[in-house]
Amino acid sequence: MSIVAELAARPGVIAAGEYSYRGDRFQCKGELSEEHARMASIMCRATNLSAHMQTHFLALGMDPCPFNPASGWSVRGPHFTVCVMANVFCFLDNTATSLNEVMRLMHKHLGREPEDLI
């Protein structure tokens, strides 16, 4: 089972998807329309690019820098959380899922992706 399918099958996961690092393709499983999944891919890719640049900057002041390279990020709203690791994203319902379990699963599978793909 792919990591996207595994995430999508978890309780409280609204949708999970994957985008190409170039930004030209995406796939998604769950309760997001094709158009909304495309939007989610664009947004997640944008923040991922920022996160990588930011950890490069942190590394200018620390050698070695335990933040660099970035593995992923998550952002939390009142009802939903978005988690991204490498090129995989996941939308969570805050009340129905364990953030730690999702983060741990994503980190285990995706936390050491090579940075030159970014």
Partner: protein
């Protein structure tokens, strides 16, 4: 060719960078290592800005943001200007940003 940008008042360094962020050539007051850093920053920043412009188009449903041609980050004393694969470092006290951007547009290739 890009060296001529140093003739503009206030421009202290100029770089041409590749699409992967590597420095092609750089001129001005920065050391080689910092010149490469400026090139990589400009490359990273351009990609981030492109992705933000995509989002702005997507959310506003208004055309005209993409593809972004360049950017200006204006600090208190210094400014970084970039257009295409060129970036330059500018001293705010001496430079006209309009002139710098015009010359960058004339020079980019």
């Amino acid at each position: 060719m890009i060296r001529r940008l140093l003739a503009i008042d206030g421009v202290s360094a100029v770089c041409h960078f590749r699409d992967d962020g590597a420095l092609v050539e750089g001129h001005g007051v920065l050391e080689e290592q910092h010149m490469a850093g400026l090139a990589m920053f400009a490359h990273d920043y351009r990609r981030i800005l492109q992705s933000h412009a995509d989002q702005l188009s997507m959310f506003s449903q208004v055309r005209g943001w993409t593809p972004p041609k360049g950017w200006i980050v204006h600090g208190k004393d210094a400014t970084v200007c970039s257009l295409g694969n060129l970036v330059c470092l500018v001293d705010n006290r001496e430079a006209s940003l309009s002139e710098v951007m015009r010359e960058l547009a004339d020079t980019q290739y």
